[in-house]
């Protein structure tokens, strides 16, 4: 059918066709949209393209990007982790309390990573070994983590006051704030791991077809477990940066809006919610895109609530494009 419909005497036309197939267009869509948004911003928001605001956007995007990398690991395996922001908040609170009670900066940071990874282990154990549904497992974890955060803090935020931590996390290296460097480094490492390591290949295999993966003797259970631990670890890492940046840790750090941002980042960055497709670099680009939207809406003085609304529409639209790609 399709072979016949391409005229044989027009090679130029067939080249044009392959360049502008629907799938190609859909793959480029995020970049096309980002370009349109950036042009609009340049025209209508005077201070948008000033170097301070650009750096500000990247610093804001760094925490979202790190969480999106964790989410990518889980989403490639075919699952979803709604508990990332609440686990991040819980880790930050536990670390901040340790710091407040005289713990060292290193110890508190390690504690944050540990709490995050531990929550990831519980999620992974429930999904991979107990065969529970990822969406609901992480929903329960989200409730438990937020509940614990509220419980141990009585809903009061815990101050983080440590010059040592601030300089460690927030200083600039070569003029670039460290959160940006950390995000870039993590995106690079994660991309290398996922493209070059055995674990990465297994992860994609499990996400594409878990039964086929099992038949090919891939330890699917352990791979899925690992994906959730990675996601928990990145929640802990984000906790360190965010608590230093905010100078406080509270249960509110991981509110519902953040979950949506993470899922949007991953989906906009080309990570499929059906598993097996996408990578960390895309997710980080997605995080930058989402941050640009939030930041510009903020600068245009659109209210927070309206921005929630617009983001809800953006995520549904991108999942819709994603589903078009599949057909």
């Amino acid at each position: 059918m399709s072979a016949r419909s391409i005229p044989a005497d027009a090679p130029g036309a067939s080249w044009l066709r392959s360049a502008f197939t629907r799938n190609r267009l859909l793959e480029l869509l995020p970049f096309i949209l980002l370009t349109i948004v950036l042009i609009l911003l340049a025209l209508f928001v005077p201070n948008f393209f000033n170097s301070r605001n650009i750096i500000n956007i990247f610093v804001q995007a760094s925490t979202l990007g790190l969480m999106a990398i964790g989410m990518t690991a889980v989403m490639i395996s075919g699952g979803i982790d709604l508990s990332i922001p609440s686990v991040m908040a819980l880790s930050a609170i536990v670390g901040a309390m340790n710091l407040r009670d005289g713990g060292s900066v290193l110890g508190s940071s390690l504690l944050m990573l540990l709490v995050g990874s531990l929550a990831g282990c519980i999620n992974g154990f429930a999904v991979a070994y107990l065969k529970m549904i990822p969406f609901v497992v992480t929903l329960a974890m989200m409730t438990i983590a937020t509940g614990t955060s509220i419980w141990i803090t009585n809903s009061v935020s815990v101050p983080v006051v440590s010059e040592e931590l601030f300089s460690l996390v927030l200083d600039r290296t070569l003029g670039i704030p460290r959160p940006i460097i950390i995000m870039a480094a993590m995106a690079l490492i994660a991309t290398l791991l996922i493209r070059r390591s055995v674990f990465g290949r297994w992860l994609y295999a499990v996400g594409i077809n878990v039964k086929a993966a099992r038949v090919s003797r891939i330890p699917a259970t352990r791979v899925v477990f690992g994906a959730y631990v990675v996601s928990g670890f990145f929640a802990g890492l984000t906790a360190i940066i965010l608590s230093a940046r905010l100078g406080a840790a509270s249960a509110n750090m991981g509110n519902d809006g953040v979950v949506l941002d993470i899922v949007s980042s991953a989906v906009v960055g080309g990570v499929s919610i059906y598993g097996g497709v996408g990578g960390p670099l895309g997710a980080v680009l997605g995080a930058i895109f989402i941050t640009v939207i939030s930041n510009s809406m903020n600068m245009m003085q659109v209210s927070f609530f309206t921005s929630l609304m617009i983001k809800g529409v953006v995520i549904i639209a991108f999942v819709f494009f994603d589903s078009l790609k599949k057909r």
Binding site: G78, M142, T143, V210, R214, F305, L308
Partner: protein, 343 residues
């Protein structure tokens, strides 16, 4: 259902099966016993009526959500639906002076409309229901907060009084909620629509081949779910006496946990409204009410809620003994057309 065990199996296997199939009753009895012993005012008529009164909104919302869950889908926008519809209703009454009865109709219509929006996105745009309702959950709350400027708005005095209306010793909203559950139960058990929902929940493809109009039934279930979420919202707001930004927040998670506790499988095709969903609501409310009587730290409630969901789901997965399932989302074709007969 579990296969029938042969007699050669150990008594432990039989005990385990007994615990799994009667787990709910055992836990309920233990919980009630514990509270009765430790809190003297727990098992009194006043407290039980108060408990049902507090549970009434959740009953309505859980009834609607159950229909969607039985189809093997989820709607986590119910809390935001309850919030947005009642915000609009309250603003209409307070700012525009619209008649309460007309407002009620508008609120219910708006709920059905939101359900229709979810249904449209799921059925026509073929977007996964979880992502759809995650998007609408956040988006709708955004609209509601924008409309109310996230402040508290009190209901008119005469409407507020309805929240404590009683017939004899029993609150009216308990009767309304129970009536709704009974109606949904009848729809589920006695109508073609109800059976088609179960058929879709068991296997959407097979249902489509048997001639079930999967898209239409899916759409209708979402509409009903939105409508009942609005009713639940009305019951909540009338009880509270005002609409505030926190109305219905976290309600979707409570409703899902209630459904899981009620033995309704999240994989679809299993469970009942009565007694299933109702016993889930009661269980959660009893645990909460009891914690209250024991003077537990109110900040701990959310943690306890999460733990309960986790335990209930673990029991669910044991009972269902589902095959390996690591995928959060099955890319099933919601709008698969029934296969036409070849000439």
């Amino acid at each position: 259902m579990l296969p029938v065990r042969s007699s050669s199996e150990s008594s432990w296997a039989r005990t385990r099966q007994f615990l799994l199939s009667h787990g709910f009753e055992i836990v309920l009895v233990l919980v009630v016993l514990f509270y009765t012993v430790s809190a003297p005012r727990f098992l009194t008529a006043t407290n039980i009526i108060g408990l049902l009164h507090a549970a009434a909104p959740l009953m309505a919302i859980a009834a609607g959500l159950t229909l969607v869950v039985m189809m093997g889908k989820l709607d986590i926008s119910v809390g935001s639906t309850a919030f947005l519809t009642t915000s609009v209703g309250t603003l209409l009454m307070v700012r525009q002076g619209v008649d309460p009865l007309l407002t009620l109709l508008i609120v219910l219509a708006l709920g059905a409309l939101i359900g229709a929006l979810n249904g449209f996105i799921v059925v026509v745009l073929r977007i996964n229901p979880l992502i759809t309702t995650l998007g609408t959950m956040i988006g709708l709350r955004g609209i509601g907060l924008e409309l109310t400027k996230s402040t508290n708005i009190s209901l008119p005095e005469d409407v507020r009084r309805l929240g404590n209306a009683t017939i004899g010793p029993i609150f009216v909203d308990i009767l309304i909620a129970l009536a709704i559950m009974a109606i949904i139960h009848l729809i589920h058990r006695r109508t073609a629509f109800g059976r088609q929902i179960m058929a879709i929940g068991n296997d959407a493809d097979t249902a489509a081949r048997l001639g079930v109009r999967v898209p239409r039934v899916t759409f209708l279930a979402f509409v009903l779910c939105g409508l009942l979420a609005a009713i639940g919202g009305v019951l909540t707001v009338v009880q509270v006496g005002a609409v505030s930004g926190s109305i219905g927040s976290g309600l979707e998670f409570t409703a899902v946990s209630v459904i899981v506790i009620g033995g309704i499988s999240l994989f679809g095709g299993e469970g009942s409204i009565l007694p299933g969903a109702l016993r889930g609501v009661l269980m959660l409310e009893i645990i909460r009410n009891g914690l209250n009587h024991l003077g537990a730290d109110p900040y701990a409630y959310r943690f306890v809620n999460g733990a309960i969901i986790f335990i209930a789901m673990y029991a669910d997965s044991l009972r269902a003994q589902v095959p390996v399932e690591t995928h959060a989302f099955e890319s099933e074709e919601v709008s698969a057309q029934p296969r036409t007969q070849s000439p």
